[in-house]
Symmetry: C2
Subunit: 343 residues, 2 copies
DNA sequence: GAGGTATGTTTGACCGTTCAAACAGGCCGC
DNA sequence: GCGGCCTGTTTGAACGGTCAAACATACCTC
């Protein structure tokens, strides 16, 4: 691996000064077209690329965005999100730096900032009253979060990008109504991760709007996000005196549990009882007969996150709510209301 | 965000010179214990951390390892692998830089090297006669690969770490035999990704060893890695004149297809017909009644990869074969031969 | 033709660290 | 008491860029 050419090598070859070469990359409008051409051919010939460390040192920006890879559950859409995040970052000449951190331990964040190894962070899997948000905000460190943090008390300064779960579930309910359903159950989780509350709100609003029942017996909560708990929850709904004909689950895994319980009773999802999930994970496309779910627009999310981070330090206070896309499959063949997305 | 302290600030506070502070971090044995103590308290008081760009610039090493996040399928164990990779990297004071690249397009790799943004690459999802390996080898760029590349002709210089698929499948077959199975089918993919051939080899060897049939009719191949194709393949096996009582699938998804076909015929996996998968994805634990699968030891893999990259540029030619761990579940309750792992 | 402005290009200094070489002093042997 | 060696510590000089200001030209205006 021979040593790479430097800005001086290029300058010498093109018969200009160092700075002009630098300008070609950083202020192309300030350089004469003919000079530009000369420099570019020299760049091409030598295969020159500005040294990243040197540039970072002088400009005091690492051009890296830190992302802490979640340790435990690792939501199933993480890999597609990471891909989207990389793409978005590269579109603005940045890269993603991965790191790990113990639960609630911010020292890794601290180190990266102190070393000036990253310019900003992207968070995901925000939980209620997320301590990371507070920590970063207090220190005025740049970040953006995929997912709102739902504060315990009082509004919190929080730059976030999120999917409008309430609206997505609202649309699903409306779709189910158009299929003729009159009793629609909701399967949530026990402890209100904010996202769940949000989706529940969508269900309530839509049911109310269509004058459908939306009282307690139609809402069941799973302890954990597992098929077994989903199945148990479905059992409770199906055992009601007047059981629902459709079930809206807060995750694909829960929905799969529902399908299992239906199969156990000789019922067919989408025919006898409609079922929907959330996140459009591999599970949704893989299961028979295909599970209607909500796809999060990861590309747009990633773009919005990155955009909010690179914007010349103006508005630290971005709030972007995007619309999820309903992926209709046989488990609930609802008409898709041409998914739009709102910025 | 106030400007971070530099080596000079620490030096001034501790009453020593810049270089001594530097030595505390880079050559602790060359500094007097009492001086060391003074410097460390100053470091502590100021929260000093060496600036990464400056260090990289001088030492000509970015301390970053590049990993190209796969665009299309994104194998289901990628997220756990990434986590393990980060951990392993951080253990030696390195970090992982993520990037994307079009299929077969090496320009992203080229840029990162030219910019000196990374010191080395980690590859995954190696395919037969992988072009990335050749490209990197030709340019003497450091890398290590998760997964062997199976050369088209002739041995290839390839630093890899891999799981011994042949041995894992061999163990599974032996376990099935101990459960009394005498006819064991194999579900592979059509085009021999090397890993598949490897596993098939394990099946053949084990069957031969136990004097079981291992001829063509017992081997079926799916076009794609989908449940539908798995189901179709299972159908072919079950329709044989003398159908197998156990089926070894090359992936969890295919195995799930098998389960589906069994359910369709009123058969119970693990009771009427044994089924096993590979990779121990979420699918395996989520499906009823639980799918026996092979867990890849991602932590060890990641450690081995990183270790091979940071070793003071000695042996570029690492080959590490690790043993997979059989996770026994109800679909094939085979006795687990206390999973050992070999380095 | 002097002064002002716009356009391109160049020069010196500096970003924060580490390397290489110089330096100071204590201890040894002769 | 002088040269050699060992242990710590310090000083200058990079590493490869970019910023800020100086420097040329040319073009315009009065």
């Amino acid at each position: 691996m021979v040593s790479s050419p430097t800005v001086r090598d290029v300058a010498a070859r093109a018969g200009v000064s160092r700075q002009t070469v630098s300008n070609v990359f950083n202020a192309p409008d300030r350089v004469d077209p003919r000079t530009m051409a000369k420099v570019l051919t020299a760049v091409e010939a030598l295969g020159y690329r500005p040294n990243r460390s040197a540039r970072s040192l002088k400009t005091r920006s690492a051009e890296l965005i830190g992302y802490c890879v979640p340790s435990r559950p690792a939501g199933p859409l993480m890999d597609t999100f990471l891909h989207a995040l990389c793409n978005a970052a590269e579109a603005v000449n940045r890269h993603v730096l991965l790191f790990t951190a113990g639960d609630g331990d911010m020292s890794a964040y601290q180190n990266l900032v102190a070393q000036q190894a990253v310019d900003a962070f992207v968070l995901s899997d925000a939980v209620d009253d997320d301590p990371r948000h507070r920590w970063l905000t207090e220190r005025k460190i740049r970040y953006a979060s995929f997912g709102r943090t739902w504060p315990a008390h009082g509004e919190q300064p929080a730059p976030w990008v999120d999917v409008d779960g309430a609206a997505a579930i609202h649309d699903i309910v409306t779709g189910l109504v158009s299929l003729g359903h009159q009793r629609i159950g909701f399967l949530g989780w026990w402890h209100g991760i904010g996202a769940m509350q949000d989706r529940l709100r969508g269900w309530r609003a839509a049911c109310a709007e269509h004058r459908l029942p939306h009282g307690d017996p139609l809402v069941v909560r799973a302890i954990a996000d597992t098929m077994a708990d989903g199945r148990a929850a479905a059992r409770r709904l199906l055992n009601l005196a007047d059981p629902p004909t459709a079930m809206v689950a807060v995750s694909d895994v829960l929905a799969l549990g529902v399908c299992q319980e239906l199969a156990g009773r000789g019922l067919v999802p989408g025919k006898d009882v409609a079922v929907t999930g959330f996140d459009d994970t591999m599970l949704a496309s893989v299961v028979e007969p295909g599970l209607t779910s909500v796809r999060q627009p990861v590309e747009r999310i990633a773009e919005a996150l990155v955009r909010s981070l690179v914007g010349g330090d103006g508005h630290h206070d971005v709030r972007v709510l995007l619309r999820g896309e309903i992926v209709s499959r046989a488990s609930a063949p609802i008409p898709t209301p041409t998914a739009r997305s709102v910025t």
